[in-house]
């Protein structure tokens, strides 16, 4: 099928053409199956063990493939694609080093429940187990970091395995699934048959909630005087933002959103308290500390949120809504578990939900919000990183999709970017993977060619995947690449200052490249700002520029993220910072 042919064919015609029982190779089976599953783009990198697949792609014009410059770039891009759309992201890598290069990305997706199908090649089945050239036991390696994985030894199994992989990745608690295809399997030819549906006996996610539990929650809400909602990534992934809004309004419960939950609830809403936890807001952390009812929705009570578990929400009765039954009771003692799809649970709850007795509590929280807002000491002679994020938020009206890397800048984005739309905060929360921020934005922009996509990175993390600048230039992927350049590993510096008594050990990033020149070397526009005025000017220029652009914001080195709860402290024991 040529591109021209495809252009004039209807969806059904393409489908029936793909489904024809032709005798084809495992490689073509893979490509056809991916198309049948709705894959628009593969992020990949070739090598010996996947050459059959790449050869099949040569004459298979109707699937988009983006050649990244490192497999880690490919998998983070697929991840960004998946997080920003809710669709399954697809990544392809060769055996051995190609496969091990995607391990970090798989773990990143696993920790944050992101649906991916990762295809790796492997040595031919007759060589498996012989330490053959570029052999790695990638199914063994990735068992703990995939939702499921497959080593396909017979080409007959391939269509079913692909169908299962997509089903498993995208249902229940989502996650990455790896399919390892030995080289002989991708070569073998059989008559193609793609199953309509698959039944996996050991896989039946609970999606339908138990009404009795939902009613118990409704009752508890009616009695509560100091209720709080803690909403997480599960709300975003279930596309449950409207149901959540209705629930909050009907029950009149103040809400805090976790790092992954940001953008699942509009930050302009009066009942929103910001992010909780280690760098959470005063109002959110105090509310968690003092609440009498805590409703966790698609959030897993991660230690960066709860801090010292024994001191967490000591007076609260806990309700936990989650699609994964194993999360219930894992970290906190739960009085009312509600297992099911978050959207369905909230829908059901909204039918009978009534307000809590929260009037005085809402007033107390409003006072806290006013008295202890997020703030930073601005300066007219120095460019502050918070100022830059604030400016980005203001100028884009919270409308952009923002990806972040990991570190201080990530927390400042979480604190100062005012998200308004779901799936617009793309960040590695669970694994905290440096190097994620920039390549994930490429996947986001590929999925949303018409949206404004901004990638905020530290000068450390930017250097962990900067090779993908080439991809932006070649494909004209117009990501606005922000580098918050503080010349140090900022978050590590902050810990060393506060926890290790100013003993700064290996955090100096002197010798980093000139980021403007680096961008230009790849054919990406580069801009720089060293003060507020320049920042405003170049940022405007960047927004108006029609194409990829990197902006090097040279900011103050010694800035810290506040509030901060240090490890081992309870959530209300915040260091509020030296500002003001």
């Amino acid at each position: 099928m040529s591109i021209q042919e495809r252009a004039v064919m209807s969806k059904e015609e393409i489908r029936s053409k793909l489904l024809q029982p032709d005798v084809i190779s495992g490689s073509e089976i893979l490509l056809r199956s991916l198309l049948l599953e709705g894959t628009e783009c593969i992020f990949g990198y070739p090598g010996g063990a996947v050459l059959n697949i790449y050869d099949a792609m040569y004459s298979f014009a109707n699937i988009r493939h983006i050649l990244t410059r490192h497999e880690q770039g490919a998998i983070h891009a697929a991840d960004g694609y998946a997080r920003s759309t809710g669709k399954v992201g697809v990544c392809l890598a060769t055996s051995g080093p190609g496969a091990t290069n995607v391990v970090t990305g798989i773990a990143t997706a696993y920790m944050d429940s992101v649906p991916l199908v990762v295809i790796t090649g492997n040595v031919a089945t007759s060589f498996i187990g012989t330490d053959a050239f570029q052999e790695a036991d990638i199914t063994g390696i990735t068992m703990p970091i995939t939702k499921h994985n497959y080593l396909v030894r017979n080409v007959e199994d391939l269509p079913r395995v692909i169908k299962e992989a997509f089903m498993i990745a995208s249902t229940g608690r989502k996650g990455p699934v790896l399919i390892d295809i030995p080289k002989d399997v991708s070569a073998h030819k059989i008559a193609f048959h793609y199953p309509d549906s698959v039944h996996v006996r050991g896989y039946q996610p609970t999606v339908k909630p138990n009404n009795l539990q939902v009613q118990k929650m409704i009752q508890a809400i009616k009695e509560a005087e100091r209720p709080v909602i803690l909403s997480g990534g599960g709300v975003v992934y279930a596309d449950a933002q409207n149901e959540l809004m209705e629930f909050v309004e009907k029950t009149q419960i103040p809400i805090t959103t976790t790092l992954l939950g940001l953008s699942g609830f509009p930050s302009s809403h009066p009942l929103w308290m910001g992010m909780p936890g280690m760098h959470g807001t005063y109002s959110a952390n105090m509310a968690l500390q003092n609440c009498d009812l805590l409703i966790g929705i698609g959030a897993r009570f991660d230690d960066r949120v709860t801090m010292k578990l024994s001191g967490f929400a000591p007076k609260a009765k806990i309700v936990h809504i989650d699609v994964d039954p194993a999360e219930i009771g894992k970290n906190v003692k739960t009085a009312i578990p509600c297992v099911g799809d978050v959207k369905m649970v909230l829908k059901q709850a909204n039918e009978t939900a009534q307000p809590a007795k929260s009037k005085a509590w809402i007033e107390e929280i409003a006072r806290n919000k006013q008295e202890f807002p997020l703030r930073f000491k601005d300066s007219d002679d120095e460019l502050k990183p918070q100022y830059v994020i604030d400016m980005i938020s203001e100028t884009t009206k919270g409308d952009a999709i923002v990806t972040t890397d990991v570190g201080q800048h990530q927390m400042w984005v979480a604190q100062f970017y005012k998200f308004t739309k779901p799936r617009s905060m793309i960040t590695s929360g669970g694994l905290g993977t440096m190097g994620f921020g920039f390549p994930s934005a490429i996947g986001v922009q590929v999925a949303h060619p018409d949206r404004l996509v901004i990638s905020v990175n530290g000068d450390g993390g930017m250097q962990m995947c900067s090779q993908e600048l080439a991809i932006c230039a070649i494909h004209n992927i117009p990501v606005k690449i922000v580098v918050i350049n503080n010349q140090v590993l900022g978050m590590v510096r902050q810990w060393q200052e506060i926890i290790y008594d100013n003993r700064y050990s290996f955090i100096d990033l002197a010798g980093s490249p000139d980021f403007v020149k680096l961008a230009e070397a790849y054919g990406v526009k580069g801009l720089r700002a060293t003060n507020k005025e320049e920042a405003q000017k170049v940022w405007k220029e960047a927004l108006e520029f029609n194409g990829p652009v990197l902006i090097d914001f040279q900011v103050r080195k010694d800035e810290n993220v506040f509030p901060m709860v240090t490890a081992g402290s309870a959530i209300h024991e915040m260091i509020l910072g030296d500002d003001e």
């Binding site: 199914t139 068992m143 703990p144 006996r201 050991g202 039954p325 009771g329």
Partner: protein, 165 residues
């Protein structure tokens, strides 16, 4: 306080790597495996594992839920919460000089064990029973000198008509 012993039965797809998936889960989540037995089940294509572990009620619940997250796990049953039959087999190679042999044979008979191999200076004793019985027998043989000991670990099922499925 020592944690109580728990026995669970896990019905799994008989797939390559399934033991690695289950054992790996226990390892990475810090659950203890005291013993594990694996073999065919009554259904073609499925195997049954019986795992002895230690942990309080919460741990046991987490283990069960985490096991269910493995796609190859079909069913998990907490056997300890029900009336169950649990059996283990041990082979014990014990020193048996002509002078001590009659005493050893006496112990074997009392425990309804069996002698399955004889050499001039040793016997191999096969004993089946619950783990306490085997522990007791091992203790009795110790003074004679145990050359080698191998135990299968517990295999078990629920009493009565119900089926572990």
């Amino acid at each position: 306080m020592t944690n109580p012993k728990q026995t669970i039965s896990v019905l799994v797809n008989n797939q390559p790597g399934v033991l690695q998936r289950v054992a790996g889960l226990f390892g990475r989540r810090g659950y203890n495996i005291e013993s594990i037995t694996v073999g065919e089940s009554e259904e073609h294509g499925l195997s049954r594992m019986v795992i002895e572990t230690t942990g309080d009620h919460n741990t046991l619940e987490q283990i069960q839920k985490q096991l269910y997250k493995l796609i190859d796990v079909i069913k998990v049953i907490d056997l300890g919460s029900q009336a169950m039959v649990g059996r283990e087999l041990a082979l014990i190679k014990v020193n048996a000089e002509p002078t001590t042999r009659p005493e050893i044979i006496g112990i074997v008979e009392t425990f309804r064990a069996a002698i399955v191999d004889i050499s001039p200076t040793t016997l191999i004793v096969q004993v089946v029973g619950d783990s306490d019985k085997i522990d007791a027998m091992v203790e009795l043989f110790r003074p004679y000198g145990i050359r080698e000991l191998t135990r299968t670990g517990v295999t078990a099922m629920v009493r009565g008509m119900s089926v572990g499925k």
